[in-house]
Symmetry: C2
Subunit: 210 residues, 2 copies
């Protein structure tokens, strides 16, 4: 039975591993669609336009803001990032689950505009593990990383506005938890097709031959 679609927002401080976790979960869950963000930052090596991001100019980003085409947008370390609204709304209307990753301020913007969205706070693991992961991003200047860490110093306070949390101590376990959250949300009465349930019930009630 197909229920209503919804948006799942994976959020948390930079370095928590949001992208890696989404990449790990996407192939494992049917009808789960990734919301590709638009950004003004230049592509990193290997990143593909329309897959990792829509890479747009500052002028194009301005135009999208003016046309109210974003569900949320933010400036981050000198670049702008935004979630195009049309894709998310269209997929949800088709009963699909849309997943996106966004920083904490963005998640709170989404909550205000889509109270039905499911917010998941991803916590980075131990410091050693975090250092290992950040080091792998050779192209990130150390300065940017330090800026991000300072930026996130107070971010845990916002966890109380989230629905779920996952500690990213182990990629497979974290992916399993995220899958569990998505599958449970699909069982919510609030997302059920109540007409279809009513039909099923009627067929059962007609059991006068029992």
């Amino acid at each position: 039975m197909k229920g209503k679609g919804f948006l799942i927002v994976l959020s948390g401080p930079s370095g928590a591993g949001k992208n890696t976790l989404i990449d790990h979960v996407l192939p494992r869950i049917p009808n789960l669609k990734y919301s590709v963000s638009a950004t003004t930052r230049p592509p990193r090596p290997g990143e593909v336009h329309g897959v990792d991001y829509f890479f747009v100019s500052d002028q194009e980003f301005d135009r999208m803001i003016a046309n109210h085409e974003f569900l949320e947008w933010a400036e981050f370390v000198g670049n702008r990032y935004g979630t195009p609204k049309a894709f998310v709304e269209n997929e949800i209307q088709q009963g699909h689950t849309v997943i996106m990753d966004v920083d904490i301020q963005g998640a709170l913007q989404i909550r205000r505009r889509m109270p039905d969205a499911v917010l998941v706070f991803l916590l980075p693991p131990t410091l050693d593990e975090l250092r290992r992961r950040l080091n792998k991003r050779g192209q990130d200047a150390l300065e940017a990383i330090v800026k991000r860490l300072e930026h996130s110093a107070k971010e845990l306070e916002y966890i109380v506005d989230y629905d779920y949390y996952i500690i990213n101590d182990d990629l497979d376990k974290a992916a399993e938890r995220l899958a569990v959250i998505i599958n449970a949300e699909r069982c919510r009465v609030a997302r059920a097709d109540l007409n279809a349930l009513q039909e099923l019930w009627q067929r059962r009630q007609n059991g006068d031959d029992l």
Copy 2:
């Protein structure tokens, strides 16, 4: 990280397969405890006191009501059933998940007394499957079954007061869904140990050597 315990209430019309589903799920989930009900009905063959039910006399049941020892209780086809409060509260305080099965009126009583409880509505499958299952209960008089079906005619209306629903079309799939719901509820921020998360966060923030 151990979070707060909670109560999961599996409910729905008689014949939906609540007991079978719980039996299937209990061994698969750690720290999941079954709340044994008290009842005045006589044991069926094979039922064990303290495992399936606490079989008590009418006088003992009266005493438990008078002492406010029930989380909910109800009369059903001439017998009384109740959920002893002490066990549930004690297990929750230890951080465990408690699961119980109860009829719909009982679930709504629980919701009023424990707003934090998770309510799952179990829908019976097709009529043929339902007939097959009911026939296996040789000891149930047909009259009692018919009474139950009449009793449940309007019960679907209450589904909107529940958090989740599961269609019991296939025992393994239904058990998987119930497990998913329980595991997702364990990832809720509202049940998190925020002090422990704060500690984890502090360890991460002390990364001035990054």
